[in-house]
Symmetry: C2
Subunit: 324 residues, 2 copies
């Protein structure tokens, strides 16, 4: 592929002149501009972004690490982040960690090697790896260290809201199906839910799912679902797991919401598609994604911002799996 030297030669000008033309920095006569542009098109020249990044020390690239891009929550995040990054002239380097600390750590090296301008890591499982990183990092849904900003929804309060709603709907014998213990976000939801229950002196039965989002969720968790006993309300750690639970209960002939009321978490697109549609807690994904990338770009631009937790508001989305 042609390089800047080829263009300069073919256009009969110096390299510096071509560079000035490309970057619109410094003087280039109109006459020469036309000549250069013509050659660029003839040779289908695309300036080498790698060479440029080496020199300017600015790759205009952001590393995005998510557990898995097929997870509906994280790919919505990714979509929002891509949108804003693109607007700001940044590109996305995608990494799936698979919730695997080793893969995360390897990708972290890769991102450093590629000199990404900044990193967004969702649900990190490899916190020690970030101790000596000199690239701006924003952590999503996971506290890495007191040097790294964490952005997340207010999961704790979301859990509280979920309890209050079920309680208000008349539930007095509730079950909480919680996610794998290693996820901060779902732990916070649980804590919020249980704390609110304690306030009302209600005892909650706990069932633990061992998988997060999985296509085969139902079969894999059928064991734990069989433990569902007498209850009038269930709070499930996310919408997809809730859908799994609904499916399970319907197969057993349980009427929802008349006999058992159910709540999910996330306000994923499937809530509306389910029957009955799923009452849930909304995470403001749009705002979350936008805020995360904005913070990161501020860090990249060396603006000084408070290193602290940023919690985004969660709220109740009332649908048909709960009574009025």
């Amino acid at each position: 592929m042609a390089n800047i030297r080829d263009i300069a030669k073919e256009a009969g000008v110096g390299i510096a002149t071509v560079s000035r033309y490309l970057n619109d920095t410094g003087y280039v006569s109109d006459e020469v501009k036309v000549k250069i542009q013509k050659v660029i098109e003839e040779l289908n020249y695309k300036p080498n972004a790698l060479a440029r990044a080496i020199f300017t020390k600015n790759s205009k690239t952001i590393g995005l690490m998510v557990p898995n891009i097929s997870n509906p929550f994280f790919n919505q995040m990714a979509s929002v982040i891509e949108e804003y990054a693109n607007e700001m002239g940044y590109n996305i380097f995608l990494c799936n960690t698979d919730d695997n600390p080793e893969k995360e750590s390897k990708y972290l090296d890769v991102l450093q090697s590629h000199r990404v301008a900044g990193i967004i890591v969702a649900r990190s499982k490899c916190k020690e790896a970030y101790s000596n990183i000199d690239i701006p990092v924003i952590s999503f849904e996971s506290h890495i260290s007191d040097k790294i900003i964490t952005v997340s929804s207010d999961n704790y309060n979301g859990g509280k809201i979920a309890f209050d709603h079920l309680y208000q709907c008349g539930c007095r014998k509730m079950i909480h199906i919680k996610g794998p213990t290693c996820f901060e976000a779902t732990e916070d939801r649980s804590r919020g839910f249980l704390d609110a229950a304690k306030d009302k002196n209600l005892k909650i039965d706990l069932i633990e799912f061992e998988t997060d989002f999985q296509v085969k969720m139902l079969e894999e968790n059928i064991e734990s679902l069989n433990k569902i006993g007498e209850c009038d309300g269930i709070f499930v750690f996310n919408d997809i797991a809730a859908a799994t639970v609904i499916k399970f209960l319907r197969k057993k002939g349980v009427r929802i919401p008349e006999e058992v009321q159910i709540m999910g978490f996330d306000n994923s697109f499937i809530c509306e598609l389910l029957h009955p549609s799923l009452t849930t807690i909304n995470q403001p994904i749009q705002a979350l994604g936008k805020y995360t990338i904005e913070l990161l770009i501020k860090l990249i631009n060396d603006e000084d911002i408070e290193i602290e937790d940023y919690l985004m508001e969660t709220k109740l989305i009332k649908r048909e799996t709960t009574l009025s």
Copy 2:
């Protein structure tokens, strides 16, 4: 950040020796190896992948362009592609085209500038832009030119299978809800379905959706859904749209599958979560993704492979929205 010169100096050796150590090419004494490794860790040195790529002319990076990463079908593809790319030592540069030709074209320039080793583009909307590209390209679900390999499911046959199944289940008055005309994949499904109907001398009513995957699908397409008249079977262009249709019909009190049988397309994870669970046509996403990336890497490695269409088999997944 430290560079190779710093390492060489600090370790008291030459640059070439450090490079040989890093790449395990040529001789380096064990004694020196230890010394270099120690310095590398002390200075937290990460070799600059950009500089390396400039010289070797191999960025070990693959550009992935999809309509949108939040689309469940394409993010599953992306997940599979990431997995295999990672295994082969490649990284993913993510681009959302939003089905927007201009955005796609701009990203195509960016990918060329970044000297990606290869490009996977899903559902391209900007075919002319690929005429003078000298980077290997695999096109997914879209025919760009006779120089570029296309990979897709056998959508046409999938449409036929769908018709045959509904017919076999007793449907004689069918509606087909088709996707936006500009998508080759859904057009092929329609053609297959309609051709099979013609074979049986059945006339099919057509309804067109104007949106592909959208969170607000139901509201946006309520207009066209109102056109659903008397029928005993509906073939919808994909699962999520089918879920929207089911939701709509249930609200109207239509019993599924007793009164109307429904089929989707994709075999997305939501099929199992719906009630009744959705009969659909499977697209072998795993195989599709794996095959796509394998072909691309073969192209990158200059293996000569047939430039032709690669069609992957689609098959019926029988669930509860159709009778026996």
